[in-house]
Symmetry: C2
Subunit: 297 residues, 2 copies
């Protein structure tokens, strides 16, 4: 399959839906709505929403029913980037080559834009029209799953431990794994699981797709760690080698580069294996998994 | 009725439920869980949850079914206080006489504790056991209402305009009203509406109770503005006169003290009038409305 064309088409689908679902820039208070849109439309690759749609497709579901939840996941991902970049957190001035939210709108609006994006995600996935289309009984577990993955036992927890481990030379593999499965892994896994549930998958299919999600969620972050070492600043849109400079808890720091690459490959094999019950409709999931492990940006 | 005893008993009920629903302090990552609990158990009066339970009672509903949503509302209220107090926002060192969250845990953990509390609210109200007890079709509109009131068109929007208006000498009544109906009013109104819906009220009853909620939501903030002028520092737990010192957009600043008091009384009358279809089970709502307008702390 033409993965590049597929990703481009799906990216456009997600962008168009985000455009529809976010408050307009001129809606009051416009400062916060401009700040929300600035970061949502900052060149993100829409990995999480595309994975959710692909999981929905893989189980034979209706893509349209996964689209609002996919947008919600991108809003949550974006809020986490805005807050992570704040001076009190990672203190980053640039992301994907553009000034970070607080550099453009100031810290106060950046905090509030993050808060509003997280809230907007739940506004969107609990809307009456979405509930009518999906059915309340199917939608509620999806809302719960999305909330869980973003909370203090999920993404926020990963960020906390990541921050607290920075500069610690004695980080062990268990800690790195804790951080990675939560900070990036939680949202990716939840995206894929939610896609399957929204696609009407039975319990076994949801379980299989979730195993795929766990594997590539972790593989995605290991690949990111490797990229931080091997990629150029231009490729990755931030300073290459910045993880090491900051003393970040990464796979290469704990296991070395070669072993990290081996683990990423192992996780890829696991992910592909988990998809064995599915037919060609799971091909995008398979291709995305391969792309995640080998990507150069 | 013995309002003081009633509020005390309800406060204990909410506290006990919050204790059960929040992650334990020793659960990892404990820094963020300690920070969440520090602010949730910082002596709040539980106005929003108590109003939700009272609205549920007023329409003849089962209080227990409103309790998780009431806790969620308190989590959202607490997150907003933590973020509002941050150096980049109101930069407050004390709240209710105790050091603010970021003074104790640092800015990064305070931001994340706020994020996690907002998320925890949605984890709680979308939980499978709660959905089973309330019914998905009744619960989903409540989740939507709660998300809406907290977002950029609700509470966050109010905070944005409040911040942007600070120090502006030309504030008009429309702006003050915009801020007040959103910054405090939105959560109060949504609490009361959600209580009625969770209590199984019909559309007319929900509408009547919501009118009550709109009136006391605004009255609550006007009373707060008045208290900031007339109360002592000891009574209100922060510096008296701090709104004026900061050039905050308040009712007394725009309308004067006497007219602000008249408006608060008018809103109280409206609120009581809105409850006319209800029997003695709405007495707590009536008493709370009177208390809100006349309170001294």
């Amino acid at each position: 399959m033409d993965l590049k064309g597929y990703l481009k088409e799906r990216c456009a689908l997600v962008d168009e839906a985000l455009e529809r679902h976010l408050p307009a820039e001129d809606e009051l208070p416009s400062s916060v709505h401009r700040a929300m849109r600035y970061s949502v439309f900052a060149g993100g690759k829409r990995v999480r929403p595309i994975l959710m749609l692909a999981a929905c497709d893989a189980v034979g579901g209706d893509t349209a029913l996964a689209l609002p939840a996919a947008c919600a996941m991108e809003m949550i991902h974006t809020y986490s980037l805005i807050h992570d970049d704040l001076p009190a957190m990672d203190d980053d001035d640039f992301r994907r080559g553009r000034p970070t939210n607080h550099k453009v709108f100031g810290e106060a609006i950046a905090i509030l834009a993050g808060d509003a994006l997280l809230t907007e995600a739940f506004i969107l996935i609990s809307s009456p029209s979405y509930a009518a289309a999906v059915g309340s009984d199917r939608l509620l577990p999806v809302i719960h799953e999305i909330a869980l993955c973003a909370g203090s036992r999920g993404m926020v927890g990963g960020q906390v431990v990541d921050m607290e481990s920075e500069g610690n030379k004695e980080i062990d593999l268990a800690t790195v794994q804790y951080i990675h499965t939560r900070k990036t892994g939680a949202l990716i896994k939840a995206s894929i699981k939610a896609g399957a549930v929204l696609g009407g998958a039975n319990a076994d299919a949801v379980k299989a797709v979730t195993r795929y999600g766990e594997a590539i969620g972790l593989a995605f972050q290991i690949a990111d760690d490797i990229l931080d070492i091997e990629g150029t600043t231009e490729q990755i849109g931030k300073d290459a080698g910045s993880d090491e400079a900051r003393g970040k808890a990464t796979y290469p720091a704990v296991l070395g580069l070669a072993e990290s690459k081996r683990r990423a490959q192992e996780l890829l094999d696991l992910a592909i294996e988990a998809l064995s019950p599915f037919d060609h409709r799971a091909d995008p999931l398979r291709e995305i998994a391969r792309y995640i492990v080998s990507r150069k940006s």
